[in-house]
């Protein structure tokens, strides 16, 4: 590794800090972790080469203090900063400060972050670059005639939306031209009633959409490649919970068209490093529309790593060190299938209520093609201050069926004691027949389905037996905990029957 990346400060916490530290260590790069006062016991502090406290628990006083982070980097002799995701990762001003301090910024140029930072600005740039965005107007339309003409242009179905609106009022979906006039009047009058403003605008209706995104990698020498797509449509409260690649319903033609657009979008803003273009994909029309570009590593980057064999963190580091891409688009192959489940410390059956607390016992799954990117360990107390995601389970399979069955196997091996997690919820999702058919959109986790998914799986028979024994042991031998093989010498056990033993006469 080149001198600029002698020692990297990772300006993040949790599993992504652990992930970046691993990538650095594999390249022989030294690492510096930062931690808030609530994070002294965090796993990234244990795994890093060095670790320094940057302030109190609230992110605004620690992980978001760019000035402190740069100061620590310089005192610790770090030569570069990796921001992970979230926190300072998409802060162009911070990126500039890092570079001004003479440090390497492991991320895209501030200008690219800026260009993609505002949704409307990005939309205008993308339109100029020929990238498809959800068609429509963003300004109110004056007359019904003009509106009908625009609707015909962008194609039915369309949505009429109150310009001053929100909360579902003044919105009308129009399926056919013959319904337009009535819908126009209804929308305007409802808008006037609700918002005292009858201005209405028009947008293409994307029905049954999937959230599909394309991973791109660009070096500082003008080469940009894509690493195919991820389907991130399983969402709760606009947060992704299960991701997979390939997207089970995308045709090769659409996949490549979308990928081409993503590369084009990255080019248009002079992108360098790893980034992701998010699209809305209509399962009915097969059309797709650019939503935004995330100018950083994504949470779900591992599934792309699993099917392409390309280490994205290693790639970020090598690109930041100035290396040109060491492979071409033709070298990138999508092999097999990968699924990620984001393990949250929360209770899906209780409206995803957070469930921080001490992890009294932990056994992570292992074996073939099972990857756990964890930010916790047995004995760790999940703090109340940060995102509830504690780990990611990533499983690869030779095909989708294998990836699903392997994920279910791994989820059933996963033991987290002391806190509630979304682990059993994932098993219910992966066993859902619509999920198994690939037949799901961003509306997948509807209230009805949530109820079905969280009702299943409880085993009252086992709970009854366990509780009876626990009570009996508490009543008769309160303090006894028979640790494996500890109570007696293993030699003494020999010859003593234990458990049902069958012998052949």
């Amino acid at each position: 590794m080149k001198p600029p990346l002698h020692k990297v400060l990772v300006a993040n916490r949790g599993e992504i800090a652990v992930r970046v530290i691993r990538g650095c260590h594999e390249l022989g790069i030294r690492t510096v972790a930062i931690y808030s006062e609530a994070d002294r016991s965090a796993l990234h502090v244990r795994n890093a080469g060095e670790a320094y406290c940057v302030g109190p628990a609230p992110s605004s006083e620690s992980y978001l203090r760019g000035d402190v982070v740069i100061e620590v980097a310089k005192k610790a002799g770090a030569t570069a900063i990796h921001p992970g995701y979230g926190f300072l990762s998409e802060n162009a001003a911070f990126a500039q400060m890092v570079m001004d301090a003479g440090l390497v910024w492991i991320g895209p140029p501030p200008s690219a972050i800026d260009a993609m930072g505002s949704k409307t600005g990005a939309r205008q740039r993308m339109v100029a670059a020929g990238v498809p965005v959800v068609p429509g107007t963003t300004h109110p339309i004056e007359t019904e005639a003009e509106a009908a003409r625009i609707a015909a242009d962008i194609g039915y179905p369309v949505m009429l939306k109150a310009a001053g609106g929100g909360g579902g009022k003044g919105i009308r979906k129009v399926d056919h031209p013959e319904d337009f006039a009535a819908a126009w009047r209804a929308a305007r009058s409802e808008a006037a009633r609700s918002f005292k403003d009858d201005a209405v605008y028009l947008e293409k209706f994307v029905s049954n959409p999937k959230h599909v995104e394309i991973q791109v990698l660009a070096d500082a020498h003008g080469h940009t490649v894509h690493l195919f797509e991820r389907d991130c449509s399983v969402q709760r409260r606009n947060q992704k919970v299960v991701e997979e690649t390939p997207c089970p319903v995308l045709s090769d033609t659409t996949r490549l068209a979308m990928a081409k657009v993503a590369v084009q979008a990255a080019h248009a803003v002079g992108y360098v490093g790893a980034g992701t273009c998010e699209f809305l994909y209509s399962q009915e029309s097969g059309d797709f529309y650019f939503l935004e570009m995330n100018t950083r590593l994504q949470v779900e980057h591992p599934i792309t790593e699993m099917v392409t064999g390309i280490d994205l963190v290693r790639a970020q580091l090598r690109i930041a060190a100035g290396e040109p891409l060491w492979f071409t688009q033709e070298d990138v192959k999508q092999v097999g299938h990968a699924i990620e489940c984001r393990v949250y410390a929360e209770d899906p059956a209780n409206n995803f209520a957070p469930a921080p607390g001490k992890i009294s016992g932990l056994r992570e799954p292992g074996g073939p093609w099972v990857r756990v990117d964890s930010g916790v360990y047995a004995g760790y107390e999940v703090p109340i201050h940060y995102d509830p995601m504690v780990a990611k389970l990533v499983c690869w399979g030779a095909n989708r069926e294998e990836a699903i069955s392997r994920s279910i196997r791994a989820l059933r091996e996963y033991r987290v004691r002391g806190i509630r997690t979304s682990i059993p919820f994932f098993e219910a999702i992966l066993r859902d027949s619509d999920f198994q058919a690939g037949n799901y959109s961003t509306g997948f986790l509807s209230p009805e389905r949530m109820k079905a998914l969280t009702d299943a799986g409880h085993n009252d028979r086992i709970a009854t037996i366990a509780a009876a024994i626990a009570k009996y042991e508490a009543d008769t031998r309160p303090a006894r905990v028979q640790s494996a093989g500890k109570a007696e010498s293993p030699w003494k056990l020999a010859g003593r029957p234990k458990g049902p033993t069958w012998r052949v006469p």
């Binding site: 209520a353 799986g457 509780a467 024994i469």
Partner: protein
């Protein structure tokens, strides 16, 4: 030993007898199981139930256990009938609302003396950037409020006592 075990609305009379070497015989109406218990780590109850391998986590809660099987928690009431008789004779039912998670009290929605319905939100606790409404466990009257707005609370902290 006999226990009354309640899951959801269902109550069973369960009989448990030790069979030596960490083994038990657990029976109730129509079902009977040989259980070989091992606690490989303090929090794990690893059981061979008639040979079937199962694992559960049991955490003691008032009048029972929170039992985790494959990550799904079930509240299981366990009552020793002899003790139950004693307790029923003793006093009034009250509902104590405690928090299962550490966090910070954001808002109190009731005052002492307010009548409340079971399931009515009475206090809001924040953790991990999310507000969570906590509900009255029973119909009754707010008897005591044990925390203040803005106060940090740990898992298990008693918040509000509701009297029936």
């Amino acid at each position: 030993m006999k226990y009354e075990i309640t899951i959801g609305g269902t109550m069973r009379h369960v009989d448990i007898e030790p069979a030596g070497d960490g083994r038990y015989r657990v029976s109730w109406e129509g079902e009977s199981h040989d259980v070989d218990l091992l606690r490989p780590t303090p929090e794990a109850y690893q059981m061979l139930i008639d040979g079937e391998s199962w694992e559960a986590g049991c955490v003691a809660v008032p009048d029972g256990y929170l039992v985790d099987v494959m990550g799904l928690s079930t509240e299981v009431g366990v009552v020793d009938p002899r003790r139950k008789a004693l307790r029923l004779a003793a006093g009034t039912a009250t509902g104590m609302l405690a928090t299962q998670m550490p966090g910070r009290v954001v808002r109190l929605l009731v005052q002492v003396g307010d009548p409340v319905k079971k399931g009515q939100p009475i206090i809001v606790v924040e953790a991990m950037k999310m507000e969570n409404e906590m509900k009255s466990p029973i119909d009754g009257t707010v008897g005591e409020i044990l925390v203040g707005e803005g106060q940090a609370v740990e898992a298990g902290t008693k918040l509000v006592r509701v009297e029936a």
